[in-house]
């Protein structure tokens, strides 16, 4: 009986929420539609953006723009961040060299780079890439670095005893040991990238999910705002899920 109930729960809950929404918003009008959209309004807005388009494009164009930009920037940024993290982790000298610069730049929140990025690169995509880069770079470096340093002493000594050196040491000992933390860093980087992208698009963009929010806010269009938010959440969730599956593939040995 209990496990049966557990599978039933999410759809029942969803249905319940939907019903509650209908009731509160449309039937009893406890919340004014100018404050929070009704389900029918939202469905209508969704239909509109899907078919006719809103704010310079149709829904799929916005999604593609945002997701593509994030994926590109995140990949570059994470790759570079992981590489730096590996070097810093493997060599105390490199760590000493890079750390102070890192520590000074780190407290600055990624979103705080937006005005500077706009000054330097305008409202083009390149400005967004720059800010996403800053946002995604730091967690990747830190978590990779921690991961590399987390190699336990017995395993390190075992590797020395076995005569593992050079490339084999990096690729078959250090990096695999750091993989769990590297993926933690990637997860944080992805979240940061996504948040930063939405923020950048909110500030000024022609296309993208954030621009939908921006346009809808200016037009005072609550249903469209909600549609935008739903898709921000959906895409964010999907990408995190995708990363999770990638992690499952890359780390088959993890007792999950």
């Amino acid at each position: 009986m209990p496990s049966f109930v557990r599978y039933l729960y999410p759809p029942v809950f969803l249905l319940g929420t939907l019903l509650a929404w209908f009731a509160v918003s449309e039937w009893w009008q406890w919340i004014s539609p100018t404050r929070f959209p009704t389900p029918t309004q939202t469905a209508e807005a969704f239909r509109q953006i899907l078919i006719q388009g809103y704010g310079n494009g149709r829904l799929h164009q916005h999604i593609v723009q945002s997701v593509l930009l994030v994926s590109l920037s995140f990949t570059i940024s994470a790759a570079l961040g992981i590489a730096l993290g590996i070097f810093m982790g493997a060599s105390r000298k490199i760590e000493a060299l890079v750390n102070p610069v890192f520590l000074t730049l780190r407290p600055i929140p990624p979103l705080a780079w937006i005005p500077l990025a706009i000054v330097w690169l305008g409202l083009e995509n390149s400005a967004k890439v720059m800010v996403i880069f800053v946002a995604a770079f730091v967690p990747s470096v830190i978590n990779t670095f921690t991961g590399i340093r987390s190699l336990e002493v017995p395993q390190r000594e075992a590797a020395r005893m076995l005569g593992i050196r050079g490339r084999a040491y990096y690729f078959e000992v250090l990096i695999p040991a750091a993989m769990p933390m590297i993926f933690t860093g990637m997860r944080l980087s992805l979240q940061a990238s996504w948040t930063t992208l939405v923020a950048s698009e909110l500030v000024g963009a022609m296309l993208g999910l954030g621009s939908i929010l921006n346009q809808a806010a200016q037009d005072i269009n609550p249903p469209m705002i909600l549609v935008g938010m739903i898709f921000v959440a959906l895409c964010g969730w999907l990408m995190t899920y995708g990363l999770g599956r990638l992690e499952r593939l890359a780390i088959p040995w993890r007792p999950l």
């Binding site: 729960y9 909110l202 005072i220 959440a233």
Partner: protein, 262 residues
């Protein structure tokens, strides 16, 4: 053996100094060779001077200190609200499976909305009043508090809970006198993360919907291409964020010490 260690340490210090000097040096070189016009890339000392100047002279109506205070007040609002709701709710969820089942789906679905995406609604409901940024900050600061409180509480050894129940503790006393102290390390760790995220969300919110505060100041600086102001703002934000983090780390350490003695 001992001398070897101290040599390594001072070498690291030297390397760190070299690193930072290189960074500032490259910056000055870039300014010197006018990679971009001076307006876009001011020299480091110009930024520092601007920083000092902002402390005295108002920009867009307020001095740096006043802007910071404004920002910090908003941050505190959202952060304290997140704590006030997050900790009790997290404890309740750990105590009652029913509550956990009720809250989790709502939480999980809303959580994936980047806090910044709440800005339009915040603007709609609160205008540029204090409610707007507070909502955004709350959305950023709330998840870590809830998650860490919940996780800390469910991992509390069942023995303590059973002992307390045997002694006749009701749910409220269970929460305040058993679960809460036992989950404190996890909660405090969550507070640190939460403060960081809250401070970040604040910056984002102020970039878009504010009439005062450091984020607003930076936007105005950007609009009039006074890059020194933008950079001074970044430094101020970074410093305050760092201070908050250091403070919370101290708190965390004090609580961890308590755990270890225990």
């Amino acid at each position: 053996m001992a001398s070897q260690r101290s040599n390594g340490w001072s070498e690291n210090v030297r390397l760190s100094l070299i690193g930072i000097t290189l960074f500032i040096g490259c910056w000055y070189l870039a300014v010197f060779f006018e990679i971009t016009p001076r307006r876009f890339l001011p020299a480091p000392h110009e930024v520092l001077f601007q920083f000092a100047r902002l402390i005295q002279e108002p920009f867009t109506g307020f001095t740096l200190g006043q802007h910071l205070l404004s920002s910090f007040r908003r941050f505190l609002n959202g952060f304290l609200l997140a704590i006030a709701i997050g900790i009790p709710l997290g404890l309740l969820m750990a105590l009652s499976r029913g509550v956990q089942l009720l809250v989790t789906p709502v939480f999980e679905s809303v959580r994936f909305v980047a806090p910044i995406a709440w800005v339009p609604f915040a603007a709609l409901w609160f205008g540029t009043g204090i409610g707007g940024p507070t909502l955004v900050i709350f959305m950023g600061a709330f998840p870590p508090v809830l998650i860490n409180t919940y996780r800390g509480a469910i991992y509390v050894d069942r023995k303590y809970i059973e002992a307390a129940k045997m002694l006749g503790a009701g749910p409220i006393r269970l929460m305040t006198q058993v679960l809460f102290p036992a989950s404190l390390p996890s909660i405090v760790a969550g507070l640190r993360i939460s403060a960081g995220l809250g401070w970040q969300s604040l910056v984002g919110a102020e970039l878009i919907v504010a009439s005062s505060g450091v984020g607003y100041m930076m936007v105005k600086g950007q609009a009039s291409i006074q890059t020194q102001i933008v950079m001074a703002g970044m430094i101020a934000i970074g410093l305050v964020g760092l201070l908050i983090d250091i403070l919370l780390r101290r708190v965390e350490r004090r609580f961890n010490r308590y755990q270890e003695v225990h």
